[in-house]
């Protein structure tokens, strides 16, 4: 692969960074640390503490759901993450993939805290925190694509 174009045009894009590892608690913490490190060094995100926090939380919830629901303790596997910034319109894209059980997020109901519902805030938060959340499942691979549109000041 070749970064020529990027360095030439000084587009505020980010060549994709991949991170993958086992779906467990330790790896979730590692993902959290790495996201912070990646975003701190991503030109268009610098100094956007709230934005970084929100994306970090959305990715964290997505990964937690994979550990809790897509895989089980008996039948676990890897989580693959791909972080990129692409232009026109400028957007941060995080792909999160697993090879566990698929599901249909459109069938999950919005949580109701007024009825003191204890669980079920994860998916809702992900959708509220990102601009676009697409889920697809094909060939045994489930994939979330989380998108946040960015404005350059």
């Amino acid at each position: 692969m070749n970064n020529k174009e990027q360095t030439a045009t000084h587009h505020p894009t980010m060549h994709p960074i991949h991170l993958s590892g086992p779906a467990n608690g330790d790896f979730l913490c590692i993902v959290g640390d790495c996201i912070e490190s990646i975003f701190k060094r991503t030109e268009v995100l610098k100094d956007s503490e709230n934005l970084i926090y929100n994306i970090q939380l959305a990715v964290h919830e997505t990964c937690t759901n994979i550990v809790d629901h897509a895989y089980s303790a008996k039948d676990t596997g890897d989580i693959n993450l791909i972080f990129s910034v692409i232009p026109s319109p400028l957007q941060l894209v995080v792909d999160v993939e697993d090879k566990g059980n698929a599901f249909d997020p459109t069938l999950v109901e919005e949580p109701n805290p007024e009825q003191l519902q204890v669980r079920g805030y994860g998916l809702y938060l992900i959708q509220k925190l990102m601009d676009k959340t697409d889920y697809s499942s094909a060939g045994g691979v489930n994939k979330w694509r989380l998108t946040k549109f960015l404005t350059v000041l």
Partner: protein, 112 residues
Amino acid sequence: MYFQVQDIVSKVSVVKLNEKIDAVSAPQIKEKFNEMISDGVYQFVLDLSQVPFMDSAGLAALVSLLKQARQENGDVKLVAPQNESAMRILKLTKFDRVFDMANTAESAVALF
């Protein structure tokens, strides 16, 4: 995690949490809550002012405590997190409508 527990005369217990409330810390926090409930504490002020991060497992721990407390005719009031993003999570999930909130532990205690 270090829990600073302070009993106010009217039997409201103020629990100050000062770390992330997430999937990692939630089990420990829940255990502490259960212990206090067993000891007959049903009126809680959770001081979240210094909490830097909260996820859905953290939210679950809060609602779960509220549910247990209300079953015993108690309640849970919150001191709002100073971290803007953590506060935003409470608003996004409408937790600010379910929990009474205040900006200091004193005013949260006064809500009882």
